[in-house]
């Protein structure tokens, strides 16, 4: 898991033709990728049932 704040790893905002909405969508997509990668890291060491039982986190909600 990266130990730097997520905001430091944002993708460069340099589209060929500037689209402000696309800039925001790219950031959101990048954040989602980081989220998914960290979930994979957690699932390497714990099952979803264990995560829910021990920490109370319902990872199935992230599939919605």
């Amino acid at each position: 898991m990266p130990d730097t704040p997520a905001g430091d790893q944002e993708p460069p905002d340099t589209p060929s033709r500037w689209d402000a909405d696309e800039v925001l969508r790219a950031r959101a997509a990048h954040a989602k990728d980081q989220r998914d990668n960290s979930v994979v890291d957690l699932r390497d060491v714990m099952s979803d049932a264990e995560v829910l039982d021990v920490f109370g986190v319902d990872l199935s909600r992230l599939e919605d």
Partner: protein, 384 residues
């Protein structure tokens, strides 16, 4: 329309648009915060119910993680919407993971650390998605408010002035929200020079293009014409500024420029000197040696040399091309907007939910379909 009146209208429209944008952004941010609170309750359970015995037990780890999620989400949202925020740094992550591990001693430290990381990243993703939804809603709101600000009957139904004012409002509104969300294209912020050009257009009833097809504003903050060098610098290109411009501010550079001009004049043929003088606007100049020219003539020749040898033509005053189109189209082209702002065609409820990232609970709640009903002082259509 008097020039002073036009300037007042342009300035007042800009201020109104910024105020409305700020208020709308704050309202949607509050709704997104509420959506985050609900999501935290759905995502993290603070109690454990034994299905066999029916006994409920409190889960302190869940409480820590729920608050951690909300902390990350709120600050992520504030940061994305241009407000002061707490940076979620590595120290906070470690401290939270240590606390979580103390509450769950049966777990490995790495499990606690990764759980904290997941919640941080989930919150970050949720705040990013909420920002996309908020921005889409604000774009719709900008159109409706622009039409509301300048209804068809304003300015004695002068449609050119009506549409210019609408698009100017929309421009200022979107400028504010794009600046707040840090999604603004470089070289596009609204400036007083641009506002002045809008006032000129309102007074003269001549629409001139202010925003180019590439989205850059054609008038600089100094009221001069934006040139290719400005655009290249705005795009982040390096090495586009001529080196002679930089040297012009240093003593050695000044000598180089002076030497270049003196040598250039002395070596130029009679015909070349004549062309140089013509470019300097002193066509009747007697083509004497440099030291025999008057000071005014020398200055004019230096100016012509600078214009042709590397100093950008930033001194050209802005004179946009008149747009000879129907009023709605001329106003649209003036600001390079995608569509005209005709009447109150948009639905009363907010539109613009982004479908590309899925609906999701936060996307739905950050901007519900009943925005007009649920939001205090909601945007209402004008009485027709």
């Amino acid at each position: 329309m008097d020039a002073t009146v036009a300037a007042t209208i342009a300035h007042g429209t800009r201020n109104q648009a910024v105020d409305d944008a700020r208020n709308d952004l704050n309202r949607l941010q509050l709704r997104a915060v509420e959506a985050g609170r609900e999501e935290s309750r759905r995502l993290v359970k603070v109690s454990n119910i034994n299905q066999e015995t029916g006994q409920a037990t409190y889960r302190p780890a869940g409480r820590v993680l729920r608050d951690w999620y909300l902390h990350c989400y709120l600050n992520g949202l504030r940061e994305r919407l241009g407000h002061p925020s707490v940076v979620i740094d590595a120290q906070q992550i470690e401290d939270t993971a240590a606390l979580l591990h103390r509450l769950t001693p049966e777990t490995e430290p790495v499990q606690a650390l990764r759980a904290v990381g997941v919640l941080r990243n989930v919150a970050n993703a949720d705040s990013a998605k909420a920002t996309v939804t908020i921005m889409a809603s604000l774009r719709s709101a900008a159109e409706r408010r622009a039409i509301q600000h300048a209804p068809d009957g304003r300015f004695d139904s002068d449609q050119l002035r009506v549409h210019i004012t609408r698009h100017w409002y929309q421009r200022c509104y979107i400028d504010h929200v794009e600046a707040a969300t840090r999604s603004q294209q470089p070289l596009t912020p609204v400036t007083a020079a641009e506002e002045h050009q809008v006032a000129v257009a309102l007074a003269s009833r001549v629409a001139r293009q202010l925003v180019a097809a590439d989205g850059t504003v054609m008038v600089t903050s100094h009221g001069t014409l934006t040139n290719d060098l400005d655009r290249a610098v705005a795009r982040g290109q390096v090495g586009v500024v001529p080196s002679t411009v930089g040297r012009a501010f240093d003593a050695p550079g000044s000598d180089d420029m002076r030497t270049s001009i003196l040598n250039g004049w002395s070596r130029a043929s009679h015909a070349e000197r004549g062309r140089w003088a013509l470019e300097a606007g002193i066509a009747d100049l007697i083509l004497q040696p440099w030291d025999q020219l008057t000071g005014d003539h020398q200055n004019a020749l230096v100016g012509a040399w600078l214009r042709g040898h590397g100093r950008p033509v930033q001194e050209i005053p802005f004179h946009g091309e008149p747009l000879s189109r129907p009023p709605a189209e001329a106003a649209r082209l003036m600001f390079n907007h995608q569509k005209q702002l005709r009447g109150f065609e948009a639905p009363l409820v907010a539109a613009g939910l982004s479908d590309k990232l899925g609906s999701g609970p936060l996307a739905a709640r950050a901007e519900s379909a009943d925005y007009a009903r649920d939001t205090p002082n909601a945007i209402k259509p004008p009485n027709i």
